[in-house]
Every structure is written in structure tokens, then in C-alpha cells.
């Protein structure tokens, strides 16, 4: 029946490059060979036309691997013959299409499947309304004028039910919002538009500008230039606007009884579509949480990260230490192939009155959080994720104290961390503070992430509603036996544990990280090798350099006397350095007050052959040269003074060092800029890397002391050289390489 119904019919599909869309295209190509044409509305990207995206991105996707094998060499030809790519955009007027394309659609299209949407729970209000409501309406209005009055299938979400409880029937939305507030969708859209305008305007108010500029300057620190400040300012402004719009959207959604802006705008779209459908038949299809496939194109096929996955991964990574939900509440998951098949089944209908279908599992094959947790935990105990040092991470045990309790804990933790942060930020800069700050920062990040997940996903995990799937079940039953086999969407057939452990979780943990993939496409950054100098490249330190320089100025017979006096100060400096390298540097460099700068420069040059050369670690040098031979950018990043490093300039591509202020040809004893130690060193490196397009994740850094820790943490290949006790510990914890370089 289904196959016959599609004979020589033409379908227009939006959102075809998305997760659901890709699966749909694959299924249509595989199971509907008699279909007329499948029109795909595809947006061009920055670098690729719509056609290229279809051929290079979509057809190359793993989803098509089986079909490709089945069809052999004729695959591409077949795909291109069936599929007609239209380069356009749901948001644009007339979908961004030309006249001939529009009239082709008008003549041919029998079914419109509108699957394009912005599935971001915390999207800014304007973006959510734009894609979920206005895009839908634009498409519908066009379709109303088309010759065949095509069936309009609006893919929505089961969660438009919002905070309603109990059994949610498969019927069109009422006049009211989930919490019973009367809602006129048209008026609501007008209200939302004015909220968006208001936020934009307030971002340009004077006070706001002053604040943002100050922030921009502070963030850039000592390394910001004017154009960078301007760029940063605009970035901050946009970020601020975005943040406000996210807040506004969420606020309004909650006011009306939705959990978030996504379900709110999806519901608005349903309401508008009902109003404006005209003579076209309309079906609203509401899937629950769409996850990886049960069977087709192959078990576990997934694209991108779906709704439940961040929580699963956060749990597996040990970030989510307690679950913010009721263990007995339902998590309503459906495999993507079920949604595809249900869509294709409804698309063969032309109902007089609008119909609504839920594709969900809660009613007929419920999966509860407790079970999900058991399956997932079992899986990760056997197949743990690994940290950057390669050690396994075992997931925590959850006690399910309830969302409110968890959130209360998290909030308390965040408050506590805030206090800790305030205390730590008042400590003098140094390793102690750096270390504490790192711990507090990490704990803070963890708690905030958890709270975020709890806020965003929490509502979905404490649902006390169930989506009725009577319509969908009936539809499935009505299919002939053969088609029930070819287009299965009976949720009762799903074995959750089998699907999770054998298909879904392996797919989640083995697919390449999306972020990494995106990076690989960008212009690759240069690989750098960053060397600390004192103690890493040279067996020396700031103090012995000073002593050597000072001795050159003293007649030989008097040198022991000076040295004896100088040695009495060493314990003080030593102690200061243990507390903070930054403070030590500031204090120690005061010794240079009054030095003639020219003279210092000559001494700096002389220090190379007189002092440095015999203290260089040959293995360090060999390492440096081998980086150079590999074409890496060699950077000396040191708290030592610039004139002492000058002779080593030829060894490196860049030398980032400390510099003393000069006045009338003499040093004042003050550093110009921050001491190149601790966090400041990492910041300097980060800013440098940004400007020079250095890819720190692929770069190497060599350091010997705990004050080099932030620098080492900033790169992908850190090496601790002759580490002090604290660095040695950190290196061990992180699984970093440790080298012993000797003279």
C-alpha cells in the first residue's frame, strides 16, 4: 500500500541534511524506488554549494554505506536521478528559490515534509522564533498556492505538551498554553518581536558600552591592541545580547508552562500552522527524544549528539555525580528509524481534518531512568572512558535523591566555591594559589555544568505525563504484513538494553568528536615547541645570572666579599619563590635598579659565552633542534630578562621574556608588564598563539617548575624537565612525560 501510494509521487523535504532528514532520504532511496522525485531544500554553506553538500557531505555519510554497497557503481547516478537538490533556505522569502524552481515545485509536489528546526533548548529567542515559527509559516504559505495542494507534514515534538501531566492525547493544541493561560499565537509573536528589539537597543546604551569596553580591555590584559579591543568589544556585546535573548525566551516559555524556548516555539508553530493551513491537508507528527537507529541504516547509526547523549556522556565522564531526576520517571526515547517509518506512513494519507501522531515509547514500552542508569553504568564499568592521561574513568554511583535535592546541593556547592574563589583570589599570586585556583575552578566548572544539565534536562527527567500513541499504533496495525516488516515503527518491539549496550552506547563513544572534526577543516594552526629557559634549557636561574653579571663589575679580588654578602639574602629569595614566582621576580628584579642599560646589554651578550654556554643542557638543545628540523615554531618563554636571552634569539623563532623599565638609560628595577610567570605566562602564550595561529593542542611545552604548570596545561604535549616536587606530582597525576636533562 505504502509503496503504491508513493508511485510517481513527489516529495519536498526540508531539514534533509539533519539527523532525521538524512535517515529519511536514505530510507526513501532504499525503499521507495517508484517515487517520482524527492526535492531537497538545502542551504549552501560558506564553502560548499547545496549540491556539493549533498554529494560530499550527505551521500558520503555512513548512513548511505549499505545502500552504496548494494547499488554498487550505479549508486550516485541513482541518487542523483531520484533526488533534486534545490539550493535555498527555509528562512528566506520564497525559500530563496528562483521562479522556475518554484513553479516546478508548484506543479509537482504532492507531499511537504517539514523537518527543519532549531533543536536547541536554550537558543536565543530571535533564532528560535525565526527557524521554528517563521520558517515553517513561510513554507506553508508557499505550499498553499501550489497546484496539488500538497499534504503538509509538520514535524514537531511530543514535548510541546510542556508541563501538562497525565496522558497527553494525540490532538491539535488547544487555545491555551500548558498551564492553562489563554494564548493567541499571532499576538504572542508580535510580543516576542518587540522583546527582541528591546534587548538589541539596550545593548547599545551608553552605560552598557562603557562596561563592555572595560571588560574587553581587562580580558585582553597587557597584550591587547586597539583593533583587538574593538573586536573583543563587539564580541562581548553580541554575547551579552545573546545571553539576554536566551533569558527572555526561557522566561516567557516558563511563564506559559513550557520548559524551554524550543518546545515553546515548536508549539507556537503548531498553532500557527493550524490557523494558516487553508485547503491543504495537515498532519502534525510529534516524536519524543529521537536517538540512534534500531535497525536502519544500521543499528546505532547516529549523527551529531542527540538530546539524551550529553547527559549520558557527562555521567560517563564523571562530571554528573548525582542525577537530578526521579529514577522512576520516564525517559521517552524513540529510535530514528521508527520516526522515519512513521513519517512515511502518515505521508501516504490525505486527511480532511488535521491529524496528530505521537512517535513515543512511554505508553507502550516505557524506559525509566533507573533502568537507563543501570544499563549505562553497566556499560561504562565494562568499557570505561579514558582521561587525557589514558586512565579509565569510572562513573559515580547515583542515589537519586531527587532533582530538587540535587539542585540544592549543587547551588550550595557553587556558593561555597564562590567563597573559596574569593579567598583564593586574594592570595598572592603563586603556585599555591595557582594550584588552589585550579582545583576550585575545576570543581566550580563541574558544579555549574551539572546545574546546567539539571536545569536544561531536569524537566524532561521528572515528567509526570505520558504521550499517547494510539493513532500511531493504529496506523501501524493497518499496514499490510509485508510493509510492517519493511517500515517497522511499533515501539513495543524495542529491547532497550540490547539497543543501548549493543548499538547506541558504542556508537556514542566511538564516533569522532564533532569539535575535532570541525577543527580539522579549518586552516591548521602551526605546531610550536615552547621552552622555559632557566632550569629547563639551562641549568641556571635568575639569581645566579644576576650574581654573575654583578661579579663582572667588581674587581676580581673583591668578588668573594660581595658574594658573601649576597649569599645572606638567598634564603629570603628562596622562600619568596616558594610562595610565588611572580612575587619573587618582582622583588628580585629590584636589584637591577640603576644599572646602565647599554652596559647591561653588553654584559648580557658576554654572559652567553661566560656563563650560559657551559650550563646549557645538551639534551635540551638537541630536543630544541629536532623541533626546529621538524618545522615547528620554537618559542622561548621565560621569566628571565630580555637582554640575557638576546644571544639565544637565533635559536628560536620567538622569544617572549620579561623586560625591565628604562628611564634615562638606566633600569628602574620595575618590570614593564606582568612577570612572565604562572598564569600570566599561560595568558601570554594563549594570546600569542591566537595571533600567530599556533595550535596549542598540537604543541609541545617544556618546563621545570610548578610555576610552569599553567603553561604546560595549555598545550597538548607537555613535558616536565627536571621537575621540582610539586611539578613532578602534577606530571604524574596527569600522566605527562618527565625528562631528566643533565649537564
Amino acid at each position: 500500500m505504502l509503496k503504491e501510494a508513493y508511485k510517481d509521487k513527489n516529495i519536498l523535504l526540508t531539514g534533509g541534511t539533519g539527523f532525521l532528514g538524512t535517515a529519511m532520504v536514505e530510507k526513501i532511496l532504499r525503499s521507495m524506488p517508484d517515487l517520482g522525485k524527492l526535492y531537497l531544500l538545502v542551504r549552501a554553506s560558506d564553502k560548499k554549494s547545496a549540491g556539493e553538500r549533498f554529494e560530499e557531505d550527505m551521500l558520503a555519510s555512513a548512513a548511505f554505506a549499505n545502500l552504496r554497497e548494494e547499488k554498487g557503481e550505479s549508486f550516485e547516478e541513482y541518487a542523483k536521478e531520484k533526488v533534486r537538490i534545490l539550493e535555498g533556505d527555509v528562512h528566506a522569502d520564497f525559500l530563496g528559490l528562483g521562479e522556475s524552481e518554484l513553479s516546478e515545485l508548484s506543479e509537482n509536489v504532492d507531499v511537504v515534509i517539514h523537518s527543519a528546526a532549531s533543536v536547541v533548548f536554550d537558543a536565543p529567542l530571535d533564532a528560535a522564533v525565526g527557524s521554528n515559527v517563521r520558517g515553517t509559516l513561510g513554507l506553508l504559505r508557499l505550499a498553499r498556492g501550489w497546484g496539488k495542494k500538497p499534504l503538509f507534514i509538520h514535524i514537531s515534538t511530543a514535548y510541546v505538551a510542556g508541563t501538562r501531566s497525565g496522558m497527553i492525547p494525540e490532538e491539535p493544541p488547544l487555545e491555551s498554553s500548558p498551564n492553562g493561560t489563554y494564548l493567541d499565537p499571532e499576538q504572542e509573536l508580535v510580543g516576542l518581536d518587540s522583546a527582541v528589539r528591546e534587548v538589541g537597543m539596550s545593548s547599545r546604551e551608553r552605560e552598557m558600552s562603557i562596561r563592555l569596553e572595560a571588560d574587553a580591555r581587562r580580558e585582553l590584559g597587557m597584550v591587547g591592541e586597539e583593533y583587538e579591543v574593538a573586536e573583543r568589544f563587539e564580541k562581548l556585546r553580541k554575547a551579552w545580547v545573546r545571553e539576554r535573548l536566551v533569558e527572555r525566551g526561557t522566561e516567557r516559555a516558563k511563564e506559559l508552562g513550557w520548559h524551554d524556548v524550543y518546545t515553546f516555539t515548536k508549539s507556537l508553530a503548531e498553532r500557527m500552522v493550524l490557523r494558516e493551513r487553508g485547503e491543504n491537508p495537515l498532519i502534525i507528527l510529534r516524536p519524543a527524544i529521537i536517538e540512534s537507529s534500531y535497525r536502519e541504516p544500521y543499528p546505532g547509526w547516529i549523527q551529531g549528539s542527540r538530546m539524551a547523549d550529553p547527559i549520558i556522556m557527562a555521567f560517563a565522564r564523571g562530571i554528573l555525580r548525582e542525577f537530578p531526576g526521579d529514577p522512576d520517571s520516564l525517559i521517552d526515547i524513540v529510535p530514528v528509524d521508527h520516526v522515519v517509518n512513521a513519517t512515511l506512513a502518515v505521508a501516504s494519507r490525505r486527511p480532511e481534518e488535521p491529524e496528530v501522531y505521537h512517535v513515543a515509547s512511554g505508553e507502550r514500552n516505557p524506559l525509566r531512568y533507573r533502568d537507563l542508569y543501570d544499563y549505562v553504568r553497566g556499560y561504562f564499568l565494562e568499557n570505561p572512558l579514558r582521561d587525557s592521561g589514558g586512565r579509565p574513568i569510572y562513573p559515580h554511583e547515583w542515589s537519586f535523591p531527587g532533582r530538587k535535592v540535587v539542585e540544592r546541593w549543587l547551588k550550595a556547592e557553587i556558593v561555597g566555591l564562590k567563597v573559596a574563589n574569593a579567598v583564593v583570589s586574594r592570595l598572592p599570586d603563586g603556585h599555591l594559589a595557582t594550584d588552589l585556583r585550579g582545583r576550585v575552578g575545576r570543581a566550580d566548572k563541574r558544579s555549574k555544568m551539572s546545574l546546567y544539565y539539571s536545569r536544561i534536562y531536569g524537566p524532561y527527567s521528572t515528567m509526570d505525563s505520558t504521550f499517547s500513541t494510539k493513532n500511531t499504533a493504529r496506523l501501524f496495525k493497518e499496514l499490510p504484513e509485508a510493509e510492517r516488516e519493511e517500515f517497522p515503527f511499533d515501539i513495543a518491539e524495542v529491547d532497550w538494553e540490547g539497543w543501548l549496550v549493543e548499538a547506541h552506547l558504542p556508537a556514542l563513544t566511538t564516533r569522532p568528536d564533532r569539535k575535532k572534526r570541525r577543527k580539522a577543516v579549518e586552516k591548521p594552526g602551526e605546531v610550536a615547541a615552547i621552552f622555559d629557559v632557566d632550569g629547563t634549557l639551562i641549568g641556571s636561574n635568575v639569581v645566579s645570572y644576576y650574581a654573575w653579571l654583578r661579579m663582572q663589575e667588581i674587581p676580581r679580588p673583591l668578588r668573594p666579599f660581595w658574594l658573601a654578602g649576597f649569599l645572606t639574602k638567598i634564603p629570603y629569595y628562596w622562600g619568596l619563590d616558594k610562595v610565588s614566582r611572580t612575587h619573587f621576580n618582582r622583588a628580585f628584579y629590584k636589584n637591577y635598579r640603576g644599572w646602565d642599560t647599554e652596559r647591561a646589554k653588553h654584559l648580557g651578550k658576554a654572559s652567553f659565552s661566560g656563563f650560559t654556554l657551559e650550563r646549557i643542557f645538551p639534551e635540551a638543545l638537541a630536543q630544541l633542534r629536532s623541533h626546529k628540523e621538524k618545522g615547528h615554531r620554537v618559542i622561548l618563554l621565560s621569566g628571565a630578562l630580555d637582554f640575557l636571552l638576546e644571544p639565544m634569539r637565533d635559536l628560536a623563532d620567538d622569544v617572549l621574556s620579561a623586560k625591565l623599565q628604562e628611564e634615562d638609560g638606566e633600569f628602574t628595577g620595575e618590570l614593564s608588564g606582568a612577570p612572565v610567570a604562572g598564569e600570566a605566562r599561560a595568558r601570554m602564550l594563549a594570546s600569542f598563539a591566537r595571533r600567530r595561529n599556533v595550535d596549542l593542542s598540537k604543541s609541545y611545552a617544556y618546563g621545570d617548575s610548578i610555576s610552569d604548570l599553567p603553561m604546560l596545561e595549555a598545550v597538548g604535549n607537555p613535558v616536565a624537565v627536571n621537575p621540582d616536587k610539586r611539578l613532578a606530582k602534577a606530571a604524574k597525576e596527569n600522566g605527562w612525560q618527565v625528562r631528566r636533562w643533565k649537564k
Binding site: E598, H602, K605, F608, S609, L613, L621, R625, K628, P647, M648, D650, L651
Partner: protein, 522 residues
């Protein structure tokens, strides 16, 4: 002036210099021995001679007329590679530069820089510069305005132009910015001076690479005879380009060959003139060198300061000055010799231009024998084509780590693969020339430039092409073989080995160095 004798059955054993020691062996009957000429008389008053040269320059105005208030004046001087051994105080450079500075100050010149024109040689230490220029100049100019030239300072050198052969002329920026360059040479051997001074002493590798190549040096017949040297042809072309942009007042000097103080009189005196005391002195030295740890004789020999004195000074335009210098040079150094020889024997002394206060490493021995000594000829080599060259040197595998870092690497890296200097040039020169570590050591330590060992090898190109065998007597066999030379324990053994190449009854000649001299062979 010089003495050439032929040994007979009763002749005494011959003394050979052999690095930090000696070799003493009776040579076969019929061996011809060529002794160095006796030192010429020095000029009676050096200061008067200097004054006169500056007042009556060749093809130029007197120096004081070239000086004016507000000008930029740069004085360049030859580095520690000349003369050999370093001369006793006061060094002639000190006397000349003091005079030039005195005149400049009298004319109100304030902007004066004094640069050690060391090219790709190592930077001199403060003490070494002090020895050459004296305390007065040091106090007044060091280190801001008296310094070592830096061929690797990217801001310190400028492109001047190209010769008609496409050779790049790049020279010290300070020199090009100056209104006048006064170059003070010590012309110890005829190879040095003239246009070579600026284009090797004050020029970077970018220029030097055009004339210091195996190809050029192969066609250099000889290095000590500028008219017949491809290297000199190249620097003369560069000089033409340079002259268009710079004003140079050249001061050149020649020294006599009083190379050794009286305690080492046996070095320069023919063996048959040795009295009992001289002979005892030699034998004592010979024994000392054999028995004591090598560091001791090394230290003693390297502390020798030569009693060289001035035989001539000429100033003015580069070309006429250099012409006259060569005449004066030849007057001291040329020995007329009739006929070539099948086998040439020489002693390799402890000192060469690149190991003053340092170590003559295996590559420098190679250079001394095949480059320096072999080329001490005019007209044609003393040894015939296809002949054999025998030198005496222990050739230990010893290097000065500070002065010769790239030598060490080249010796181990390149020579383990091949002994062919063309292949070595092709494969390694660029990398060594551009190596950042060698560059750092050259600029900031006291190391020869990374590429310097290559030029030292290329010097041997002509000899390698021309000779059928080179044997180092007394050499560490492993080291000699590593650099592609043969070794033998005694001269008698070496002569036996030579017979394979030059026939059963070869003619042989012993060129009795040092002091250095040249043979004009007819």
C-alpha cells in the same frame, strides 16, 4: 738569502715540526732541503714609517685630508689569524690605529668605530683584542665602539650590488654608512690583503660563498699568487662593485719572518748550523713534547709571541697598495727553486690561522697541509703533478669545543659517509651554514661560523686534484684515514709508500718550515 742543500750520506737527521712536538729523522741521500730565507732587516723606526705612509699614500690624498669633523669613520683590522705566531707587543695594528685615531681626533672626528674584520672566524676575546690594540684603545672604545664584526647580524649587513658574474656583494652596514673605511692589514702571506680584506673580513656568508667553493679553490694556482687565483679573481670583481659605493683607505704592512724568540732558535736555523747548545735545546724540547702530557707542550708553544718586525708599510688606494705589498712580501718570502720534485716533505707546525690559542684539529691539519703549505708556491708547485706530499703531524682526534663546534659535527657526520669534498659540499654546506645553533655560537660565543670547516676543506681542492698521494707521518692512523689521508710511522716508510706512485727512485725535497716562505719554481 735562503739556503738550499742536498743531503749526503753523512748529513745530520732533519728536524720536522709536527704539531705540538717534533719529528727527527735522517732523510735519504740526495734529498734536497730548502731553508727559509733569513729575516729581513726591520724598519728602524716603525712610528716614523707609519707617519710617512699616512702622509704620502699611493693614489690618494693624505689621510688627514680625508678626515673631517662630523664624518663617520670606521677602522677595520685583521683578526687573530694573522700573523703567526701572534706578534710580541706592541702589535703593529695598535701602532697604526693609534696613529689613525690621533689624526681623526685632531680633525674633530667623533664618530669612530673600530671593527675586528673576522669574517666567519671566531669572535676574539677581550684579552685577544687587547693584545692586538693595547690598553689605550681598549679603554677608549671597547666594547661599544670597538667590537668584533658579526656576519650574522641581519641588521648589520647591507646588499651593495652584484658583480658581472652575478656574485652578491654584501658588506657590513657600518662600513657602508661610513664616509671612510680605513683598513689595517698585516700581510703575513701574499694570500691576504687587497680586496680580500673587505670581502672576506667584513662580509657575510652570502658573499663569501661565491669565492670559497671547491670549484674556485680548485682553480686557484696558487692561493698565494693572487694573479693566478680564481678566488682572488672573484674578490677583485667584488672590489670593483664595492669601490663605487665606498671610500677605502687601505694600510698594508709586511713583516719579517722572525717568527720565534731566541729560545726556539732551532726552529729557523739549519741543522748543520746547530751548535751543541742549540742541538741540546732541540733534543730537550723534542723529549719534552714526547714525554709530557700533550697539554703542557701545547700551552708552551701557544704562549709563544713572535718577534716579527715591520719591513714595510704602504697606504692609499687598495690596488697600488696591494701591488707594493706583494713586492715587499716576496722580497722576504720568495725562494727560487730549480725544478720540481717527485716527493715533497714538510713539517706541519703547531699553529695555523684557525687555531691561535686553540687546537689544530684533524680538519685543520688537513687544511694546513693541503691548503696552506701546498699552496706556498709561485709559477708551479714545488711537487710535480702526480707527486706525493708527506707531512708530519700526530693528528690526534682532538677538537676545541668552544672554537670549533661545527668542525666536530662535520668530522663525525660527513666524513663517516664520504671523503669527497664535493659531495660533502653538496650535502652538508647549506645546512651547516644555516644552523641556528652554530649561528648562536658564532654570534655570542667564540665559535667559528658553522660553514667555516667547509671553506677549510675546499682549500685542499687543488692539491687533491693534483697529487697522487698524501701521507701524514706520525699521524693517528684512524684519524688520518677518517679524513681520507694516508699515514705512516716514519718518513722512511712514507717514502717507501710513495714509490708505488712515483717510481722506485724518486727525487725528494724537504721544505723546511716554519717560518713560512714560498718557492718560485722554474
Amino acid at each position: 738569502m735562503s739556503e738550499i742543500i742536498t743531503l749526503d750520506k753523512n748529513s745530520l737527521p732533519m728536524m720536522f715540526n709536527a704539531g705540538d712536538g717534533f719529528h727527527y729523522e735522517k732523510l735519504p741521500e740526495g734529498t734536497r732541503v730548502i731553508y727559509p730565507p733569513k729575516p729581513l732587516d726591520a724598519l728602524s723606526d716603525e712610528n716614523v714609517a707609519i707617519e710617512r705612509a699616512l702622509l704620502e699614500p699611493l693614489d690618494m690624498e693624505p689621510l688627514h685630508d680625508l678626515l673631517f669633523s662630523g664624518m663617520k669613520l670606521t677602522i677595520a683590522f685583521d683578526d687573530i689569524s694573522l700573523p703567526l705566531p701572534p706578534m710580541q707587543k706592541p702589535d703593529i695594528r695598535q701602532l697604526i690605529i693609534e696613529k689613525v685615531v690621533e689624526k681623526a681626533r685632531a680633525r674633530g672626528v667623533e664618530d669612530i668605530h673600530i671593527i675586528a674584520a673576522l669574517g666567519l672566524h671566531r669572535r676574539m676575546t677581550k684579552a685577544e683584542i687587547g693584545h692586538q690594540l693595547g690598553k689605550k684603545l681598549m679603554d677608549a672604545f671597547y666594547p661599544e665602539r670597538l667590537y668584533n664584526y658579526d656576519a650574522e647580524d641581519p641588521e648589520g649587513n647591507v646588499f651593495v650590488g652584484e658583480t658581472e658574474h652575478g656574485e652578491e656583494v654584501t658588506v657590513s652596514k657600518r662600513v657602508m654608512d661610513s664616509d671612510l673605511l680605513v683598513y689595517v692589514n698585516v700581510n703575513y702571506i701574499p694570500m691576504d690583503g687587497g680586496h680580500k680584506s673587505v670581502h672576506t673580513g667584513l662580509s657575510p656568508y652570502a658573499s663569501i660563498k661565491h669565492h670559497h667553493t671547491p670549484e674556485t679553490l680548485k682553480n686557484t694556482r696558487s692561493l698565494m699568487d693572487p694573479d693566478n687565483s680564481a678566488l682572488h679573481g672573484s674578490v677583485i670583481r667584488m672590489g670593483k662593485v664595492f669601490k663605487e659605493h665606498a671610500n677605502v683607505f687601505h694600510i698594508e704592512t709586511t713583516l719579517n719572518n722572525a717568527a720565534f724568540p731566541a729560545v726556539f732558535d732551532f726552529m729557523a736555523k739549519p741543522e748543520h748550523e746547530w751548535g751543541a747548545v742549540t742541538k741540546a735545546n732541540f733534543l730537550a724540547n723534542h723529549e719534552m713534547a714526547k714525554r709530557l702530557p700533550s697539554a703542557v707542550p701545547h700551552k708552551i708553544f701557544h704562549s709563544i709571541k713572535a718577534p716579527h718586525r715591520l719591513t714595510s708599510i704602504q697606504a692609499g688606494a687598495t690596488d697600488p697598495v696591494h701591488k707594493k705589498t706583494l713586492e715587499n712580501n716576496h722580497a722576504q718570502q720568495i725562494v727560487h727553486v730549480e725544478g720540481q720534485t717527485d716527493v715533497l716533505m714538510v713539517g706541519i707546525p703547531y699553529i695555523g690561522p684557525y687555531n691561535v690559542n686553540s687546537i689544530m684539529n684533524p680538519l685543520l691539519v688537513y687544511n694546513m697541509l693541503l691548503g696552506y703549505i701546498f699552496n706556498l708556491y709561485k709559477n708551479k708547485p714545488l711537487v710535480r703533478e702526480g707527486g706525493v706530499l708527506i707531512g708530519t703531524h700526530p693528528m690526534p682526534e682532538a677538537f676545541h669545543e668552544i672554537h670549533h663546534p661545527s668542525y666536530i659535527d662535520l668530522y663525525h657526520e660527513a666524513f663517516s659517509e664520504t671523503k669527497d669534498i664535493y659531495e660533502i659540499a653538496h650535502k652538508y654546506e647549506k645546512r651547516y651554514a644555516e644552523d641556528p645553533w652554530y649561528r648562536t655560537l658564532y654570534r655570542s660565543s667564540h665559535a667559528y661560523h658553522g660553514v667555516h670547516p667547509f671553506t677549510v676543506l675546499y682549500w685542499g681542492a687543488h692539491a687533491l686534484d693534483y697529487l697522487s698521494d698524501v701521507i701524514v707521518v706520525g699521524a693517528n692512523p684512524k684519524v688520518a684515514a677518517h679524513v681520507g689521508l694516508k699515514s705512516a710511522p716514519t718518513i722512511a716508510d712514507a717514502l717507501e709508500m710513495a714509490k708505488d706512485k712515483v717510481g722506485p727512485s724518486p727525487s725528494s725535497t724537504y721544505m723546511h718550515l716554519p717560518p713560512l716562505f714560498m718557492c718560485e719554481v722554474s
